[in-house]
Symmetry: none
Subunit: 140 residues, 2 copies
DNA sequence: AAGATAGTGGGGTAGAGTGGGGAGTAGTGG
DNA sequence: CCACTACTCCCCACTCTACCCCACTATCTT
């Protein structure tokens, strides 16, 4: 299970060191794709298939489904880690998630999320207030 | 069953000694998460899975669900105890619960709650007056 | 009163995070 | 077809953090 929040930095070569804690959970193959809400998702290669299947199963006769499929699949890249546990993030993905140098990597159960740090802060702050309301609704 | 209230202090390295009474109840694996009402929760690893499952089951195609999952899982950390029964609390969690040096650890049946001591006092005081009223409302 | 155990503090070391250099390969132009 | 360039991948080196171990004090128990 991928948990926790880590601050890292991209170097000049667009390399990102994955937090050591996450490496074993990811195996040695990672798929990075455009995520939701302006971040990138990183899946262990074996878990990627499940998510991919969910998106693939959407009906391509619906325009919105096609948009989702393009969003996910055209942005997906298989990345391998070097001996130091780093992966190169394609410039196109970095741009689409508006990621600069300062990055936050968050574990969200079955995948990682890669955020521009400033954006992450804002997003998380936005949730804080409503988390307890949502929890209240989940309670029964 | 986890019961009772203990005053402890964080050291300079953000380590918290768990009260000896609680250690056997927690096994050797603990998961710490952002809790409700401005404290931290600490679960025995095996009890954590139930809570995690409820959050995981939310549909990630809904924005609210995604935000909830991020908040919970990115705020959760697996912490192991050292030989003295201490665990390191990540700075990001301490910050989000506004915990300084003086800490109160409270047992609440299946989990521990970690509070900034001053905040705990205030909260407890708040409850004191209203416990009977709340009980009345929860009754059916 | 003495010993044991819980709580607190500090130091050393392995490993994680970051940066830079060099070789190999693909792509482009002459 | 060859040569040059640019990019990518791999390896080496340094710094700093976090983890692990040891030591001390206070309190509770016998």
């Amino acid at each position: 299970m991928l948990l926790g929040e880590h601050d890292h930095t991209l170097d000049d070569k667009n390399r990102l060191t994955l937090p050591a804690k996450f490496r074993e959970g990811l195996g040695d193959g990672v798929v990075v794709t455009r995520g939701m809400d302006g971040c990138l998702y990183a899946y262990a290669a074996e878990h990627w298939h499940g998510t991919a299947e969910r998106i693939r199963a959407l009906d391509p006769l619906s325009r919105e489904s096609r948009m989702m499929q393009r969003h996910f699949f055209s942005g997906a890249v298989r990345a391998d880690l070097d001996k130091q546990g780093r992966m190169v993030l394609p410039a196109s993905l970095l741009e689409s998630a508006d990621i600069r140098r300062e990055v936050t990597v968050a574990g969200v159960y079955d995948h990682l999320e890669i955020w521009d740090r400033a954006k992450w802060r804002v997003h998380l702050h936005e949730v804080e207030g409503s988390a307890e309301d949502v929890a209240e609704r989940l309670a029964n």
